[in-house]
Amino acid sequence: MNREYSCKILKRDMLTSDTAYLTIECADIANRAVPGQFVNVSCSRFLKRPFGIASVDTSAGTFNIGIKVVGAGSSELASIEEGSIVNVLGPLGNGFDLSASDSFILVSGGTGVFPINFAYETLRSKGKNVTMVQGFRDKSQVCLTSDEYIVTTDAGDYGIKGTCIAGLDTLKIEGNTTVCCVGPVPMMKAVGNWASGKGLKCYISMEQRMACGIGICLVCVCKKKAEEEGIPFEHVRCCKDGPVFEFGEVIL
């Protein structure tokens, strides 16, 4: 059975001036999580806050999340003291289909770097062929990167100047390749279209304001093309039916 966990924050690192990386103790979550899933984490506010799972260490029984400060809850969690206890629901939602092909292109923008990092680690451990493309606003935001990755910045002060597309355009596509992209909607649109143009399957991950995170309240919906005729669209739950969708499945 699923349950809510009381988890200890084992470690807090700052990746950038406004982004923290938490190591959280929970063997169950570490064992069960697949890339693209998220956790819903308590803070002193009324609702929990959703964060993508950025990495797991099944032997240590820990997982990681990356938190960019945008408001009250994220700033509280990004400055939480090591040893504190938080309530966590997870792993939640559906991840990427990592068996879709043998070759993957992973594309992240902004905080999308976190779930994509987990996908990268998992695919590498499965021995798959992975190309990583990371887009950041500027150098100050760069994190969880590596020399082997293609990095772009809007500001051009690090890596290739431009969007992820500039990075993607440098690639030679071989064989059966799947694209996974997590980032702002305009970016996922652009990457999805880029992939479609090349005939590649593409997964994206949506963010919506959530309450439960487990599919019971229907506040977090995305629009989906309706299957029935006459109905303009259906609403699917980001938390339960997503957050990962195939590009084209939900209306961006």
Binding site: C212, V219, C220, I231
Partner: protein, 304 residues
């Protein structure tokens, strides 16, 4: 029957805890978290005649000690529900409450006609005369004692199923509305649905909710809900189901003392999905320690 068994009129429930409509969908998701058969019942997501996509855009806003939602009755429609979800709900081995919404008198009658043939699978119909998130009907009907009387009388003539009328707190005099429901033949009233509220994003100068307003739920509304239950408990002879801001067993006891025969847990499930498990245990302990059946608490409030 254990110490937690209660009766709501003719309906026997094994526990006073019912999951509130719209906060448990049809049970599928929460049954991944605990065995729902510990509950007194489950109230389905609010159903309408035709499927509804619900409101567009942001549907949730956080507040102090609560939240606003503007889901707008997204649901697959009653026919789909009957075909796909009703048997599942029945299989959960707990009370099956079907929550019914509509825009007009005719809508409600049509809903009853559609559900009546499945009465064997249903323990009670919960009639939502209180949703603040749809343009017509619902809350506007539930704010007017005369319309409440009309709709409830109409439904009464169509079904022998227990009719639980769920009322809105956004009224001057809840007693007169509840009394109308009773006079029209309701079997129970459910108090309360959400309160109408608004949260504004001061950066964009727009409401957070794209529906502008939403229904306020959670601990913040509890004092209003308890007051309404206590008020109606004195004025009515039919049972009351209490709802609004319940987070722990003490809140359940508070509602029962105020006059509730059973209670509904809403927002708490969104925050702690397994809270009904803890509440059940705590209530059992409370009953043991005080050597009472929980039902004996109902209406024991002693006013000053």
């Amino acid at each position: 029957m254990s110490r937690l068994g209660v009766k709501v009129g003719s309906v026997s429930l094994k526990s006073p805890l019912i999951l509130a409509s719209g906060t448990c969908n049809f049970g599928h998701e929460l049954s991944e978290y605990y065995d729902l058969s510990i509950l007194g019942g489950l109230s389905s997501k609010g159903l309408t005649i035709r499927p509804r996509a619900g409101n567009e855009g942001v549907r949730v806003a956080e507040t102090y000690a609560g939240m606003l939602n503007s889901v707008g009755l997204q649901n697959p429609g009653v026919d789909y529900f009957i075909e796909h979800d009703l048997d599942y709900m029945r299989s959960l081995n707990t009370g099956v409450i079907v929550n019914v919404a509509g825009h007009s008198y005719d809508d409600y009658m049509e809903m009853i006609r559609k559900l009546e043939p499945h009465k064997d699978k249903i323990d009670a119909l919960e009639i939502n005369l209180s949703c603040p998130n749809v343009k017509a009907g619902c809350m506007s009907i539930g704010s007017d004692p005369d319309q409440v009387f009309e709709v409830v009388s109409g439904m009464r003539s169509l079904t022998g199923l227990p009719l639980w009328i769920k009322l809105t707190p956004n009224v001057t005099d809840i007693k007169s509305v509840a009394y109308s429901a009773q006079k029209a033949g309701a079997d129970a009233v459910v108090l309360i649905n959400t309160m109408l509220g608004m949260v504004i994003d001061i950066r964009t100068k727009r409401p957070v909710l794209h529906n502008n307003t939403g229904g306020y739920s959670g601990p913040a509304i509890k004092p209003v809900a308890v007051r309404m239950v206590a008020e109606c408990s004195k004025a009515l002879s039919i049972p009351i189901i209490g709802c609004g801001g319940i987070m722990d067993y003490k809140d359940v006891i508070e509602f029962m003392i105020a006059g509730a025969s059973a209670v509904e847990i809403g927002t708490a499930s969104l925050i702690h999905p397994t809270c009904p498990v803890d509440i059940t245990e705590d209530l059992e302990k409370y009953c043991e320690e005080n050597n009472i059946d929980i039902s004996s608490l109902t209406g024991t409030l002693q006013l000053w």
